[in-house]
Amino acid sequence: SLSDKLEGVFRRIRGTGKLTEANIEEAMRDVRMALLEADVHFQVTKSFIEKVRERALGQEVLRALSPEQHLIKIVHEELVGVMGGAAGKLELSGDVPAVIMLVGLQGSGKTTTAAKLAKHLLDARKRRPYLVPLDLSRPAAIQQLKTLAAQVGEGCGVYDTPDQGGNPVQIARDAVTKARNAGFETVILDTAGRLAIDEKLMGELRSVRDAVKPRQTIFVADAMTGQDAVAVAKGFRDGVGIDGVVLSKMEGDARGGAALSIYATVQKPLLFVGVGEKLDALEIFHPDRVASRILG
């Protein structure tokens, strides 16, 4: 773990005399390695280390009785400081129904998250959710969301997207109208997974956005995403705009460095984490827990 590594660094340092800038540099290399091994992006790691180095070179570490503990404390504080800025509530004030649009790469967990969000809104916020299957390309995607909607239960509606024909813009418009007429407080649009570099499909997403003006466009990302997290987050941020982030599959043993990479790139709240396949497996994002996990 990082604390073991740093302990080793500082044990060697203490053997040779007092702490110097060069010694701190060796410790910085270990911190850098820990972040890269946790899948934090190369450039995000670089900026982060620069901030940590600045504090480490300050007198607080150079004079500290236990420099490795002090350095870990600085790194953890910096990480929580960055991630802490990321914790946020899902804001749904304004027009009713509030429209939420879920976007992200193929397989990241959007459809499952849509249903989890519906259940959360119903149980925790007394808002009746209307789920809209907008993935017209993946085999049985419409059926998947309809099946999940039934599992969310009483109070949750689902648009009857046809298996053939139709296009996402027209379906989204019709669904929001139906939801409004039936008195649903929230509409959740489940879009098809797509590559951020797919111009045509990013254009389709913009068309849906412009047609129904979502209150929240939520980027759903897989917690095990590696270095690509920055490129993808940039792609969706610049391509359609991101208001918030959900990290799925967080209950595994992925270190979750993507959380830092994504937050550094989009600067928007990390709203929830997915912690399982069942519909109740959605939790509020805890910055200190994610920070501890990234540090290992």
Partner: protein
């Protein structure tokens, strides 16, 4: 990481960034770059180092045996495994079409009895690839479906059986036990099967893919890897460590969502793309 100053160090740093950002991982990157230190002076420039790096990386990737014209055994049984959402079901559809194009009869087994519409999803692929499918109702025991599928395959004399399984995080002990049971059932119906156990890895995955590979290999004897979503910006560099540390060869790469978007792994093209 290489100190400041010389042009060679700047080149090394640039190469380090390419490798790390390609998800090759810190340790593998350090080993690969350490190997460049022995280069003669005239090769210590960007071009020389890239060339040396290319051949070192290529050496870490197992060669892919060419697809044989005929199957070693029939039915040839393939078990497809991996964590959630990586592309198992879609890849089975693509593999099925490949076998069909080679004139073989194919049977799909709907072993994901848990996830919403998983069985329907595989059913669509069975239609697209024009092959048989064995399934039960949602919520049924995966081992029971697999037993039915294997029995049908043997009885009907099909050439290829492709078994879909539910996505599962490798850290879930009970789900890994369920997978081990599925594998045992396959072997019980047809001793020696499954003949291939393919681990599907998403190219956007970071270092966790190595831990996935290690755990799945330990549980069900993975024979090869399929790297999906390589049509995106991710390079899937984790396969270097998976290939080198665990001896698992990459067999195919997924390059899109349509039935034809599967290619045999080409290690040379792969390394070129990663270092581009």
């Amino acid at each position: 990481a290489f100190g400041r100053g010389s042009a060679r160090d700047a080149d090394l740093e640039a190469l380090e960034e390419v490798l790390i950002e390609g998800d090759v991982g810190v340790r593998a990157t350090q080993d690969l770059l350490a190997g460049l230190r022995g280069l003669p002076a005239e090769q210590r420039n960007a071009a020389g180092m890239t060339r040396a790096l290319r051949s070192r990386m290529r050496a870490l990737l197992a060669d892919v045996p060419p697809e044989t014209a005929s199957l070693p055994k029939t039915p040839w049984v393939v078990l497809v495994v991996g964590v959630n959402g990586v592309g198992k079901t879609t890849t089975i559809g693509k593999l099925a079409a490949r076998h069909r194009a080679a004139g073989r009869s194919v049977l799909l087994v709907a072993g994901d009895t848990f996830r919403a519409a998983a069985i329907e999803q595989l059913g669509v692929w069975a239609e697209r690839a024009d092959c048989q499918i064995v399934k039960q109702g949602p919520g049924s025991d995966p081992s029971s479906v697999v037993f039915d599928g294997m029995s049908a395959a043997v009885a009907r004399g099909v050439d290829v059986v492709l078994i879909d399984t539910a996505g599962r995080l490798h850290t879930k002990v009970n789900l890994m036990e369920e997978l081990k049971k599925v594998r045992r059932v396959v072997d019980r119906v047809l001793p020696g099967a499954p003949h291939e156990v393919l681990l599907v890895v998403d190219a956007t995955t970071g270092q966790n893919a190595v831990s996935q590979a290690r755990t799945f290999a330990g549980a069900v004897d993975v024979t090869g890897v399929i790297l999906t979503k390589l049509d995106g910006s991710a390079r899937g560099g984790v396969v270097v460590a998976i290939s080198h540390e665990l001896g698992l060869p990459v067999r195919y790469v997924g390059v899109g969502e349509s039935v034809a978007d599967l290619q045999p792994f080409d290690p040379d093209a792969y390394v070129d793309a990663l270092l581009a």
